[in-house]
Assembly symmetry: C2
Homo-oligomer: 366 residues x 2
């Protein structure tokens, strides 16, 4: 049974879990021109119903379920957005794919690459699209930055990248949030904000995996051993390097700096633009000292890229476009997205392994 | 024999060596209200004379010498500015101090801390002021940034620092410059631009030495083994971290980012302001996500600090003020400056040692 919306090419989403981030995605699905929420499931029917009313979803058009299974059994649901704690991604990601649902999975994608591979294998077997919910990838600013990074004259060859994503988690977060609970989001700050730092670095090197990763000593963990703050360095065989720092314990800072043989790119809010409808970055190229080295230039120029839709709605629209291509024209899932997810997870795993092995260099798996 | 200028409190400089950087300092000494160039010495009298005419120095007031010794023997010379290649710092730094000359020493201060200690001991024995020529320390912007970093409410406790200093050395530099010659400036990019990165990091942590340093794998060296590009991570026992990258092989980038528990400081030209008479930095404090995490703020605010004198002239003025205090009032040399130099050198040494020991962690000496 297809809804009228479905017949017109709209991808019908079921949301599994009512986390705060699900509110953001519910809004994004509503904003995307080719997507609609048709079902919400949580462990409690009451919670699902409250989610509908809290988020302006029409109870006549959107089913509220008291279990995740019911979302997966609903034939109206084309795709699932899964913002459950990371420890549940394996079970419910595989179940969604096995039910023939396309999968938009919240990050971190999995607790480890082995788990992720099971999810990806299930998606593969079912022929459904997989994408992780790394929203900034879909902002038009990201494409504008890529254009400059790819320019052999203005940027040249990448030499080094630094990324920082930190924010101050308040006392309640540090006590109660799933991201500090070993049984829920065991990767802590590394899986949450570190995921973005690593993705930013991989994006800058055009997804070439580093040779090895070394975690920085003295990561901060909570009493349960969950990472609250850590960092690492990454190296490539040809001398490219990257470093990052991620933390729940420092003022909100979201930086990506990529330095090439001829250019320098800097974005001070690359993961979440400080303003919703436009985002900036700075770029300099072929800068030189003045005579006597008393000044230098040209100074970085500021580029502003506006976005008709918020980046999370751009993401939903792109995911839905891919789903539409599979459903309508019998196309194949786009492999680019699971590939990028897997590389990100491999680096996350390597950082974690380096910490566990006493900050030894860890060769990044493949 | 004291010149009229000397009697009025002007510190009379002898410049030893006619490197490009000496032109910048000659101008700075002229601009500083309490300093004057009275002698220039190089291995060739002709070169010294040309330096005078090229730099608008009056041959009637400034002696041109065909040796370094003559500068040190000139009783009119109160202080020496020494921009010779690093491998000559030990010999001529010690000789300057032994001649009773105050010493403004170009960076990197020495090839290793053991050499530096001999220079500092000679300065100590002679009761002369020592300062290395790290100009940005003396820009009023640096004091303004320090004020914010010291603010327990707006910045809080420092968590992490990243610093980058790179520029593109052209073919002639990579072939001929003293900074790529093992027998002249054997520390290469680490001693040149890396010095500034390390100083920036130490400045941000208020000069607390890190516990250990790990160099990043795959530094780039030339055929003679001199570092053209490298990086390292630094950690402190309480979990503070820092990373840096320095290079002769990447677009000019001069970054210092310090993230604290409550604030973030960023300067995009901290070593050499892009414009001579004013310099900017950005600062944000207590930034938070909006509802649904679709934006965040407050955005970093931009602070502009103007400088009546270029930073190198500010440095000369401060050095001369200290020299004047010793000479006039029988004061003691200011220990702060040699202490900071020594800490910087210790970290430089540790990075070099880590590279030589296969990227092992190296405990920073004291």
């Amino acid at each position: 049974m297809a809804s009228a919306a479905g017949e017109e090419g709209t991808v019908r989403f079921g949301i599994i879990g009512c986390a705060m981030i699900a509110r953001k995605l519910s809004r994004a699905i509503g904003l995307a021109p080719n997507a609609a929420v048709v079902a919400v499931g949580s462990r409690s029917l009451e919670k699902s119903r409250r989610f509908l009313s809290d988020n302006g979803l029409d109870a006549a058009a959107v089913a509220a379920y008291g279990s995740y299974e019911e979302v997966l059994s609903d034939p109206r649901v084309d795709a699932v957005y899964l913002p459950l704690p990371t420890s549940l991604h394996l079970r419910w990601g595989v179940a969604a794919a096995a039910s023939g649902k396309h999968l938009l999975l919240e990050k971190p994608a999995a607790l480890c690459a082995a788990d992720l591979d099971e999810i990806l294998a299930a998606c593969d077997a079912a022929g459904v699209q997989f994408m992780d919910s790394t929203m900034w990838m879909h902002h038009p600013r990201t494409a504008a930055m890529r254009e400059l990074l790819s320019d052999p004259v203005r940027f040249g060859k990448l030499r080094t990248v630094n990324s920082i994503f930190t924010f101050v988690a308040g006392p309640s977060f540090l006590e109660n949030d799933i991201r500090v609970k070993p049984e829920l989001d065991g990767l802590g700050a590394l899986g949450d904000v570190g995921w973005y730092c690593i993705r930013g670095i991989l994006w800058a090197v055009d997804y070439e995996l580093p040779e090895s990763v070394v975690a920085l000593r003295h990561p901060v963990t909570n009493a349960a051993g969950v990472i609250l703050s850590c960092g690492a360095s990454l190296v490539w065989k040809d001398g490219q390097t990257a470093t990052f720092h991620c933390s729940f314990l420092a003022n909100m800072t979201i930086e990506l700096t990529a330095v090439g043989s001829a250019g320098t790119l800097h974005a001070g809010d690359f993961v979440i633009p400080a303003e919703e409808r436009s985002a900036a970055f700075s770029f300099s190229s072929c800068a030189e000292f003045s005579d006597l080295h008393t000044s230098w230039g040209p100074l970085p120029s500021r580029h502003v890229v506006s976005s008709g839709l918020p980046q999370e709605a751009q993401m939903v629209a792109e995911f839905s476009r891919l789903v539409g291509g599979i459903r309508g024209a019998g196309g194949k899932p786009e492999k680019k997205w699971p590939d990028i997810t897997r590389k990100t997870q491999l680096v996350v795993d390597a950082v974690k392994a380096s910490i566990e092995r006493g900050f030894e260099p860890v060769v990044v798996g493949s």
